[in-house]
């Protein structure tokens, strides 16, 4: 869908970190037994179910651990409906639920060496030893959010679409220059 518009409409901010709207992003919620879901992911996308609080990354996209019976597939926006249909087919009659939720959330990218310091100002999360491919569901200030670490200095963050603006502003505010803390070095 080329006319899809993300809630943040391409917003960017720079300070202690670079903060950017990821734009329209495909997302599929999967609920069910992780073994079962992993099999379908493997056959449809060549991906697997992640371990607890981890992310599995492949060419087709990423699979995020959300809860003991929930996964979130992150992939290109336009591919989500077809992939969801294929996953439905692969799961057949099994007890599992597939739902396209690409428009339900805002996705942001944060990059820079101070990303953990900025996140720690709003998220009650211990980022020491937070590995590549690790994910945490928590909150950003007053709303639910999840972050995962894509590389040494690149992070992705999701929150619900309606509060995308709030989360972006909150991160931009605490990430202003002058707020350096040097907590995570």
């Amino acid at each position: 869908m080329s006319d899809a518009v993300s809630a943040l409409k391409g917003a960017r901010a720079s300070g202690m970190v670079d903060l950017a709207d990821a734009g329209p992003t495909g997302m599929i919620t999967l609920r069910g037994d992780h073994g079962l879901l992993g099999d379908s992911l493997s056959s449809v996308l060549g991906l697997s179910a992640p371990e607890r609080r981890r992310v599995v990354t492949g060419e087709a996209g990423e699979v995020l651990w959300m809860s003991p019976d929930e996964l979130l597939v992150v992939l290109p926006y336009d591919t989500a409906p077809d992939v969801a249909a294929a996953l439905e087919t692969a799961l057949g009659d099994a007890f599992a639920t597939v739902a396209v939720v690409s428009d339900a959330r805002s996705v942001m990218h944060l990059s820079g060496a101070q990303t953990r310091d900025v996140l720690a100002k709003l998220m009650p999360v211990d980022f020491a030893g937070f590995e590549l491919g690790e994910l945490r569901r928590s909150r950003v200030a007053q709303v639910a959010a999840a972050v995962w670490r894509r590389s040494e200095n690149d992070w992705a963050l999701i929150c619900f679409r309606s509060v995308g603006g709030y989360v972006f502003e909150a991160l931009a505010t605490v990430g202003k220059p002058g707020g350096e803390v040097g907590l995570y070095r």
Binding site: M1, P24, K121, A141, S162, V163, Y166
Partner: protein, 975 residues
Amino acid sequence: MSHRLGTGGRLINRTRPLDFTFNGKTMRGYAGDTLASGLLGAGQVLVGRSFKYHRPRGIVASGAEEPNALVGLGEGQRFEPNQRVTTTELFSGLKAVSQNHWPSLEFDVGAINAKLWRFLPAGFYYKTFISPRPLWKHVYEPIIRKSAGLGKAPDAETRDIDRYEQLYAFCDVLIAGGGVAGIRAALDAAQAGKRVVLTEQTASFGGRAVVDGDDIDGQSADAWVDSQLAALKGMENVTVLPRTMVAGVHDHGYALAYERVADHQPGADKPRHRLWRIRAGQIVAATGAIERPLSFAGNDMPGVMLAAAIRDYAVNFGVAVGKTVAIVTNNDDAYRTALILNDLGVNIAAVIDARVEATGDLPAKARAAGIRVIEDAAVRYVEGGKSVTGVQLCRFNSDGGAVFETLACDALGMSGGWSPVVHLWSHCGGKLNWDEAGAFFRPDPNRPPLGHDGKGFVSCVGAANGELGNEDEAPMLPVWLMPAQASYELRAKAWLDPQNDVKVSDVQLAAREGYASVEHTKRYTTLGMATDQGKLSNINGLAILSDALGQPIPQTGTTTFRPPYTPISLGAITGEARGEIFQPLRKTPMHDWHEAKGAHWEPVGHWRRPYCYPKAGESHAEAVSREINQTRNAVGLLDATTLGKILVKGPDAGRFMDMLYTNMMSTLKVGKCRYGLMCNENGFLSDDGVVARLSEDSWLCHTTSGGADRIHAWMEDWLQCEWWDWKVHVVNLTEQFAQIAVVGPKARQVLEKLGGDIDLSADSFPFMDWKEGQLGGTAARIFRISFSGELSYEVAVPASQGLAFWEKLLAAGEEFGISAYGTEALHVMRAEKGFIMIGDETDGTVIPQDLGLNWAISKKKDDFLGKRGMEREAMVSPDRWKLVGLETLDGSVLADGALAPLPGKNANGQSETQGRVTSTYHSPTLGKGIAMGLVHNGPARMGEVIEFQAASGGTVSARIVDPCFYDKAGEKQNV
């Protein structure tokens, strides 16, 4: 008079002078000064007036314990009252004003209170409150408000322009205090591989040792601190935080630390304060000790200071507090002050020692240095006014009747011993023991505050643990009153708490009046209240109380130590949550469009929904009428995105739906919609909405806007905790879709104009069906449902295309004059149809039967949530208030929430009533007021006229009618 010495001052940089003002007078200090050392260096001893008697007050201490020297700091958007000069780092251009003086600091009319002290005793406020009552409001309160109190509140029109933030941190060991004990604890933990956070409330580390010139491991304390600190800073597992005070210790190792990032650099592009929210495995309190004042007459005069503070000013800042300084003590430690000042060339009048003999090492050194030591002596009275001119001496063991000498001096240091700072140990319940030898409370290592594992999570080290003094020091003599048998006149001038103007005589009076509990005495006398929370006064006060009660000090105990250790800013507590991000604002995809069209907003949870869209010159009521008329006559659009949309799917989903809703949902056919009710276990109506059967094993539940998250959580709660073996998934899809109601007789034509693959004809797409397909090039799911009584479709499209689709609808409807309508038009139209609204017709005590919704309660189902609740006696009583329509006889609009009064009183003495208004509007469609209400036995009383309270007083007559006012047959929605 206090003055700057020619040399010395380990913390100041004499090549960087800084100008500042105090009460408008320009003064000069140096980089590294505190405001306190700057003032004293500039000769300013008088810094404020006391709370109650407006007595002249000077600086007493050199740190966070300072009770007197509070000033208003900054101006305008940076003005802050009650700032301690001792913890304020000096910066160029600092502006300070003294507090609680009128008309000026030097000449204060309120000081007349001091002459009236006999009439302002302990408990003055309480006694005044009692009688005579009328005098309080008109006489006492205005006078007290004018004369009492500390700083002024900032101007209500100003806004704090600084920014603040918080930070979540985690560590194995958090150390509060950067003195030698704290640094040692940090090194031990860091070398063991622990994650360590070391905090120091001031800008410089080292605590007392660096001032007192101790040797540590063969080095000077200064050199040792520098090298150890450098080592700590070089370790990856250590975070070193100067200007950071651990303000509170909370359960489970949670601590708040208050970092004053930029107080000393106002205007810098930095957060001013940062509140660290730390989860620590262990908390080490290396918080040192605070010197106690001595209680003698005139001990509140400017120039009377703590002995150790005097040497702090001399060593750290090169400031002498007087030309000739006397020291009064009950211990050896105060001799250090005499020795250090003597070395710096300050004249020492004498050391006045309450002990019969001063035999320790330090007194010996003092004598060797030529310092006069007067044993078995006490200060009877301090002479002077706004500053000290001399002290009258008497024997310690006397009533002060005989003065044996008057000693000329312009400053007096006092030391009554030291009290460990046990606050952080005590915040979570760590217990204390009384140490007889040192006359202080110290942590009881066997009774620490306990963590989740039943083990202590706070420990104290160094002076905070009571490790005070050393072996060469002779025992101190506990002195709680000087002289020991001081007369009443002297006791009434001996201050315990200079901040709150509480004297020895006040505490003794409280004891005589029956106050035995230290907590009650605190409130009654105000001892240890306000900004310093009795850091100097508590032990002295409870010793006096114990003596008056004739019981040992540990039996009296202490008041409760509560966070914060010293006041922290509201800005730090608020953090980033101010202005635009004070609260989350939830926005629908069409939010910006609404805003651009001048929507008047209505808050709905964290959402903002358009209440109406007033045009230029139009009132809100006019806008609502226009929106309704446009919709009823042609077509209107509503942004219904905020409605909850929850997917329920799985082999047991039908069973689950039948339990959630009062009506039968498992029999709903695929492609159909049904209105449903949800109740809580008590049978009270909780939420409502339209359910669509999506497939054999899936349903989509629409909830109210405010209910979306709550109902989703409710569903998960039942599935996870009660029916964990049912095969059902729920997914909250609320934010996935933009939902738009297209409403009015032209609604079908508008949708048809968009084009697509969905047959919209009445025959193939009847009322209460849903279909999905392409509509105007967008993937859409259309529900043919109506909350207005008109032909109506609710169209769900992916949120990312919501605005584009909304604009397509506006373009397609242009020929019909299409316009958006807001929540008020929605409310009026549903009320015209007699449809209930959760939160208007319900309030948590209303069951569906009260609202005539019996048709939506299944009789076939064995069970559903609320079924048994509804069967209780009170719920089936014929006396319940039930829903009816109400029409005023004069066509006016009833007041919202108005009660229908009856003569007589109920058992509680309240007026009897027989009903109340739940929804009330002016109906532009009918041209008159319409309302719904709950009325006693209402449905059986059709046509009866009853009275309702009018907003302007009196009553209004209204006739009980059917709640549906418009198109009772439902022909308009079914075309």
